[in-house]
Amino acid sequence: MRLDRFPTTARRAGPAARAIAAAGLLLAVVGATPALATDEVDPAVARLQAELARLDADAQLAGMGGVDRLKAAQAVQALAVAKSKERASAQFIAEQRVRAAVAAAQADALARQSAELDRERDQIMIDASRREAENARREAERLRTQNLARQEEALRLQEEAEMERTARAETFALAEQARADAEQARRLAASREREAALAREEAELASSLVAEALAADAPLPPSRSVGPATVYTLAGSAFASGRATLTTEANASLRRLAMEVGGRSIEVVGYTDSQGAAAANQALSLRRAEAVAAILKESGATGSIRTEGRGAADPVADNGTAEGRAKNRRVEITVR
């Protein structure tokens, strides 16, 4: 809105304004004095018009405060034509209206700015929502990836556990197989042991039969009569040197003797030669006597059997010679 459309003097106005100017002239004639001569510009009017012109020139306030601007322009126009007695009031009103116009235009601009700020706020919220949605999407993606990784890890662990279980089962199976093999071997060994035992028993039986057969044919040990008793002598050759094991021949002779003696009482006395320590000789002689007694008992002698070891005592030959020592190494079996 241009202030030029509101001429400041009646001279530049239309027919109506010119009529008003003419009326002013008439009033001057009848005694009333107009505010100013029509060809002079009131400084207050000029100032207010300039203020409105600045307002119009402000591009940022263009089109704002329209009603107040119109009223301000009208008030300034009224001031321009006011009579002197109305001038103070007209100027006051024009001043107020111009200020109101400026303030209203600025208020409109601020209202527009406020609306823009609201739109900006809305845009910020929209952007924030988008960002939040994007963040949520990323988080969901992250969680999905994480979950996938966990699933893969769980699967891997499951596979490992399965492999371990399989390996354990295989190991267990191998161990079971080994145990079964061991059991089988043990059973085989036991079987073989039984076989061996049977074979041994068979052999022993055969041996026993052979021994009995041998004993039946074996000669009795040499003997002599001492009163009512008969003394049988097993020569030292019946034993290996330093041992109490009888030879096969001596064994057969003793078995034969056992068959002969039946339930009579027997006294078995062992002797050694003089070589070696007396205690050792005494112990050896006792072991030999006990070996002889054992064979007699298992071969059929049912009477009492007393054993005794006398070491190198009671030699029957010279211990100075090998032959004599062989004679001294003996077991005497007294049967009563």
């Binding site: 027919p15 109506a16 010119r18 009529a19 008003i20 003419a22 009326a23 008439l26 009033l27 009848v30 405060g65 107040d68 009223k71 008030a75 109305e86 009031s89 006051f92 009103i93 107020q96 209206r97 200020r99 109101a100 116009a101 400026v102 303030a103 209203a104 600025q106 208020a107 601020l110 209202a111 700015q113 406020s114 700020l117 609201d118 900006e120 706020r121 910020i124 919220m125 952007d127 924030a128 960002r131 939040e132 963040n135």
Partner: protein
């Protein structure tokens, strides 16, 4: 000359009206009501600063107008009522501008805070 005849007629009529009207101005009821409404509207905005001063001015002039009207000095009441309305309009515009200034300032700060909190911090 015929072109100037209507102008001369209008001038004559106006002069007659001015001369005859000085003694019989009617009660400015409409102007007083308008001024009263304008003052109330300004008052509703609870103006501060210059607007508050303008509103006080408007009230004072409205009081003058009412007083003059009561004393049947209608011409004086009319002038004061118009002044009151203009001052109240100024107070209203000033108050509205001040309120909007505060509103814009508040919204700008709010937007800055929102941007900082929702957009900048999120990065």
């Amino acid at each position: 000359m015929t072109r100037n005849a209507p102008a001369g007629l209008v001038a004559g009529l106006l002069l007659a009206a001015l001369l005859g009207g000085c003694a019989s101005v009617p009660p400015p009821t409409a102007e007083l009501d308008a001024a009263d409404r304008a003052v109330r509207a300004a008052d509703a905005l609870q103006p501060r600063g210059p607007a508050q001063q303008a509103l006080a001015d408007a009230r004072q002039r409205l009081g003058v107008a009412r007083d003059a009207a009561n004393r049947k000095r209608y011409a004086e009441a009319l002038v004061a009522a118009r002044e009151a309305e203009a001052a109240a309009a100024n107070a209203t515009a000033e108050a509205r501008r001040a309120a909007l200034e505060a509103e814009v300032e508040s919204k700008a700060a709010r937007n800055a805070e929102l941007r900082r909190r929702l957009l900048v911090q999120g990065d």
